[in-house]
């Protein structure tokens, strides 16, 4: 009873083909089935090895060699397959759906007025100005008289005033802080005065009963209108962009002489004319002037020794224009959807 090596060779070839075919079909779940079928102790390779006993001695070395080759080859192919499968498994286990939305942080926000205010302050800090604040509940002297608004003068009509009583009012401009600063401190001084001011006007889309201002003062020896213009132009270019055009024109404020107002090219229509700039192409952004001698007199500063300039601007108007909000009341409604939009 002997098995000829020829037959064994055929069987080896068949098994090779079979294994090669089946190994292609292996997926992760039936790995073990393959191993048991071919490579286990009772697997098909082991069964062929059993037949070695029946091979004649002379052919045994060759048959053994062939069988070993078979086993090595199938084992190697299987292991390679296993490795591929394991790798695929790891990849699928570690799969990340990168298209999922991120874990966003809550969107906090600074109020648009704060944003504008801080930006303006930063520019003037850079030019060496200090910030000074004063009371909102003011007396007539600091809000009007010391600023050269005579009693019963039409200039007071420019500012409808809220009164607490005959002598006490809510400041109509932060220029009142200028007087307080000049009383407390002596020149040279270079300060800005941000704060909340009040006007007794009906609330509408264009006006509110209060708004915010930044006033500024620079008092030194020999300060000129050219210095004032230089300061304002520098501010305007930093704040509105270096490409803006500007014009300054004469105006009137009781506390400055000469007085001026500054216009810049409307940044919405680039000067071509739109609804916002009333088709003029220009937007008025601030008022300024050389401090009036009567103001120095009222705080006891020698007008012959010192002189300087003052300027002031409204924050709300600038904010509305820059952010494209068309109703001032929205700034005080504080709709969080708007606040977050403008964060």
């Amino acid at each position: 009873m002997s098995v000829s090596i020829q037959i064994l060779k055929v069987e080896i070839e068949e098994l090779k083909k079979k294994a090669a075919h089946q190994i292609k079909e292996i997926v992760f779940d039936n790995v073990e089935t393959f191993r048991i079928k071919f490579l286990s102790r009772k697997g098909e390779i082991a069964i062929l090895f059993e037949k070695l006993k029946e091979i004649s001695v002379s052919e045994k070395p060759e048959a053994g060699k062939l069988l070993n080759e078979l086993r090595n080859q199938i084992t190697a192919t299987f292991e390679k397959k296993l490795e591929t499968l394991n790798q695929a498994k790891t990849e699928s286990d570690n799969f990340v759906d990168v298209s999922l939305p991120g874990r966003t942080q809550k969107l906090g926000s600074l109020h648009p007025i704060s944003q504008t205010m801080m930006e303006i302050e930063k520019i003037f800090y850079g030019m060496g100005f200090n910030s000074v604040v004063g009371p909102e509940i003011e007396d007539d002297f600091h809000n009007f008289t010391a600023l050269n608004f005579p009693k019963n003068h039409p200039a007071r009509d420019m500012q409808d005033t809220f009164f607490i009583n005959e002598d006490i009012l809510l400041r109509t401009h932060t220029t009142s802080v200028q007087i307080r600063a000049m009383e407390l401190d002596k020149p040279p001084m270079r300060i800005i005065m941000p704060g909340r001011v009040y006007r007794n006007e009906a609330i509408s889309s264009r006006s509110y009963c209060l708004f915010h201002q930044v006033d500024g003062v620079y008092i030194d020896k020999k300060v000129s209108m050219a210095d004032l213009k230089g300061t304002l132009v520098s501010f305007a270019k930093q704040f509105y962009g270096s490409s803006i055009k500007y014009k300054i024109r004469p105006s009137y404020f009781p506390f400055t002489e000469p007085s001026l107002e500054m216009d810049i090219t409307c940044f919405l229509c680039k000067g071509n004319g739109c609804k916002i700039c009333k088709h003029s192409g220009w937007l008025e952004i601030l008022g300024a002037g050389m401090i009036h001698p009567n103001v120095y007199k009222s705080v006891g500063i020698n007008k012959n020794e010192w002189n300087g300039f003052a300027f002031g601007m409204g924050i709300e108007r600038i904010t509305l224009l820059r952010m494209g909000i068309d109703d001032i009341r929205m700034l005080y409604e504080n709709d969080v959807r708007m606040l977050q939009q403008l964060a």
Partner: protein, 812 residues
């Protein structure tokens, strides 16, 4: 103020474009806010001729007209509501797309755009306009009928010869001299280097020697000059069309030929005038005197007024007949029966007129001019011009006598201008000859000039020029503000440091915004009843806009809650908000309230949290805000700005808040936090829980000033952590446990922290499980387990002694 270009041409020859004139005025400080081209007013409105009229098949109150507009074949079918319309009439036709100046059906007569409409089954291809619709008169009843010789098919604006340009000038209150056409012309003349001229009066040639008598007595000290003229035999009627047109061009309604004449002269030269019915002046006497308090007076608009004292009144021998400079009286008003008039031109004190005008709430064209000050050198010119005009258009004779009381003040203002000062102000130099040229252009007389100074005499009409700086502005203005160099050679000295409060306030805002809170900005005013619940010392306004905005807020809470409610209504229910704002109270020293030291203003920070802290997302569960969110924000804020822990001390609930904690730092109270009381929330329509924290910013800054950022060496030796779990009654405070730890710890305990807290049935009702970790570390060496265990054991022993505490297990 509206200024007509055609009118200006009476005094100055202007060939410049309207835009150039407008920019010239603006560059002089007389800001032109708008240019109105009259020719644009009646766009698509043309003259037409009615060819035929037939009844409307479906309406008795409408007619259907065939209207010719220009070429014969160009006919329109127009439905008309005026039943008197007839063939052959010349009419004004508005075409589709035209803007009709007044809507007859609108209570305010607002303009509207005409569209093709179907009127009861017939399409109207246009509209026949009434004089009211065309803004010509008040007549709404009938359509506007033009004379038979009117040309058909031409623009209505051309028919009216509407070619004027109107400038809307925003005048600053210092420039009373520009409240007239002549005043504006004078400014243009100065800048454009042109001659201006005031037409000559030819009154002398028409004066009559007929004599009515009258005496004037000047009692009021507030009147410096009072001139009067009598014109007899006038016929009060409509004004001629040229006068109506001029007044209409600047938006002034025509009344009658007398009133229109006085108005015309006022808009020409700036001097207000008033005409009385001479026959109504009793005793033929004019007395100018100040009113007494509570005197009553009926003005010509039919309104009754109660006067304050020292209102200047024009009186006859028995009663007041006019409020000087503000409005005439009904009892002396010009009527159609008037035949003789007494014309008044006076100089009343600006201050007095302003006081009275404010008190009475009457702001007339006259009072505006008096308030800003008049040019007394033109008063006589004005009365003569008005008298001449009246006699021309209303007939009548101007009587010879010019009645006068008081006099023109003759002390021209002399000012010395130092050239040094001028140049130092301007930042540039000018030739003296140029300066003198500018002064001359402005009618400022140069009396003396040398290399250092110029002495000037200011003309009467420029009452705004008082000091040398005013002259500097005149030079700058005429030379052009655009010519000021932009030097910015600002000599920057080093600065004082910025105030800590300003810096911290901004930094807190930025920090809170960065951790997800939204900053809000709210009104300072609230309702009185809302404020009274918060504080007794509220500050009330004397003249609030409305009862809802009557007091200054004593806390940021009311407007914050208002904002929350607003947002909830908008559908935003999860809110984390903060505001840094001022709160206002009467101070402890409040007496009469006449001094600002009797009020306090403090900066406050208010944080509120409402709704969900976390909403359901693919990576997280939903969670509501609670007290520990707001407490955590405050803890973080203290770490960030004070570099250390703050302490919390609970206090009893109040009417407004519960779960209250006082926030202390270095034993200074800096604020409080808790839950807003439901009852108070209901006032604002809020049903959800509102957690709040309130920080007194000044207190916070005061503490912050004492705190310093200080580096502590980083400990390089490894630490050991031990966890302990305790079961305690629910009512036992965590702080009671930490107190035991603090009392019994040794220096090796670096810190301790709660890391778990729960209750369950297994643990038992009214009990909770707390797990605390203890971190041990030495800065000198690596600790051994044995010594740490010993320390932990000491603390555990203390817990075990306490009969309320069960030490559940020791965790490693």
């Amino acid at each position: 103020m509206k200024i007509s270009l055609n009118w200006l041409q009476d005094y100055i020859s202007l060939s410049e474009s309207p835009e150039k004139i407008a920019s010239t005025l603006t560059s002089l400080g007389l800001e032109v806010e708008n240019i109105e081209y009259q020719s644009a007013k009646y766009e698509k409105i043309i003259t037409g001729k009615v060819l035929s009229v037939s009844d409307h098949p479906n309406a008795t109150k409408l007619k259907v007209c065939q209207v010719e507009i220009g070429k014969k074949e160009n006919k329109l079918n127009i439905v008309c509501g005026d039943l008197n319309v007839s063939a052959g009439q010349k009419v004004v036709v508005a075409l589709e797309g035209s803007i009709i100046p007044h809507n007859q059906h609108d209570p305010n007569g607002k303009p509207f755009k005409l569209v093709k409409t179907n009127l009861r089954g017939i399409t109207s291809e246009g509209m026949l306009c009434s004089e009211y619709e065309l803004d010509i008169s008040e007549n709404k009843e009938s359509i506007c009928i033009l004379p038979t010789d009117a040309k058909v098919g031409i623009k209505f604006s051309s028919y009216l010869n509407y070619n004027d340009v109107i400038f809307d000038v925003a005048l600053t209150p210092n420039r009373g001299d520009c409240l007239s056409h002549f005043g504006i012309a004078r400014e243009l003349g100065a800048k454009l280097n042109k001659i201006i001229s005031l037409p000559k009066n030819s009154l002398k040639e028409i004066l009559s020697n007929k004599k009515h008598n009258l005496s004037i007595e000047l009692v009021s000290k507030n009147t410096s000059l009072y001139l009067g003229r009598i014109i007899s035999g006038v016929k009060v009627s409509k004004s001629p069309s040229w006068l109506k047109k001029r007044l209409a061009s600047i938006g002034v309604r025509s009344i009658n030929n007398i009133v229109d004449s006085t108005n015309y002269v006022m808009f020409e030269i700036g001097q207000p005038l008033h005409a009385f019915d001479f026959n109504k002046i009793k005793g033929k006497k004019i007395i100018v005197k100040d009113s007494v308090k509570n005197e009553k007076f009926k003005t010509l608009d039919g309104k009754n007024h109660k006067l304050n004292e020292s209102t200047i009144m024009i009186c006859d021998s028995s009663q007041a007949i006019g409020i000087a400079g503000i409005m005439g009286g009904e009892n002396s008003e010009i009527s159609n029966e008037t035949t003789t008039i007494f014309l008044e031109a006076a100089i009343f004190s600006s201050e007095s007129i302003r006081r009275s005008s404010k008190f009475l709430g009457i702001n007339s064209d006259a009072s505006t001019r008096f308030e800003r000050g008049l040019d007394s050198s033109k008063t006589k010119w004005a009365i003569d011009k008005a008298a001449e005009l009246i006699s021309q258009i209303a007939g009548g004779k101007v009587e010879e006598k010019l009645f006068q009381a008081g006099s023109i003040s003759t002390s021209p203002n002399k000012i010395t201008l130092s050239l040094n000062k001028l140049f130092s102000y301007l930042g540039y130099k000018l030739k003296v000859t140029l300066i003198i040229k500018y002064f001359q252009a402005l009618e400022i007389k140069v009396i003396k000039s040398n290399s250092k100074n110029i002495v000037c005499q200011v003309p009467k009409h420029r009452n705004d020029i008082i000091q040398d700086v005013d002259l500097i502005e005149e030079i700058a203005r005429l030379h052009g503000y655009e010519n000021i160099p932009s030097s910015a050679k600002v000599h920057y000295q080093f600065n004082k440091p910025q105030s800590k409060q300003e810096i911290i306030s901004d930094e807190i805002k930025i920090y809170l915004a960065s951790i997800g809170l939204n900053e809000i900005c709210t009104n300072s005013f609230i309702k009185k009843t809302t404020g009274e619940k918060l504080d007794k010392n509220i500050v009330k306004l004397a003249n609030p806009i409305s009862a809802d905005l009557e007091i200054l807020k004593p806390s940021l809470l009311p407007t914050m809650l208002g904002t929350i409610h607003f947002n909830q209504n908008q559908g935003s229910t999860n809110l984390a908000l903060f505001e840094i704002g001022t709160i206002y109270k009467k101070s402890n020293t409040y007496k009469s309230g006449k001094n600002i030291s009797e009020y306090t203003e403090r900066q406050q920070l208010l944080i509120t949290l409402i709704g969900k802290s976390e909403i359901k997302k693919w990576f997280q569960r939903e969670r509501n805000y609670d007290l520990f969110d707001v407490k955590g924000i405050i803890e973080s804020l203290c770490y960030k700005f004070l570099f250390d822990k703050c302490n919390f001390i609970s206090f009893d609930k109040t009417e407004l808040t519960l779960n209250n904690l006082n926030i202390n730092f270095n034993s200074e109270s800096i604020g409080k936090l808790g839950l807003v009381h439901k009852k108070y929330l209901l006032d604002f329509g809020i049903e959800e829980e509102v957690f709040y924290a309130e920080i007194d910013l000044e207190g916070f800054v005061k503490v912050a000033k004492q705190c310093k950022k200080q580096f502590k060496p980083i400990n390089r030796f490894p630490g050991i952590r031990r966890d302990i779990a305790l079961i305690t009654p629910k009512s036992l405070l965590y702080s009671d446990l930490t107190e035991i730890i603090e009392k019994n710890k040794d220096e090796k305990l670096e810190h301790h922290e709660i890391f778990d807290l729960y209750s369950s049935k297994e643990i038992g009702n009214n009990l909770k499980s707390i797990a605390i970790s203890l971190y041990y570390q030495s800065s000198e060496r690596t600790l051994t387990d044995e010594e740490v265990d010993k320390s932990v054991h000491k603390i555990i022993q203390k817990f075990e002694i306490n009969k309320n505490i069960i030490v559940r297990r020791k965790l490693d």
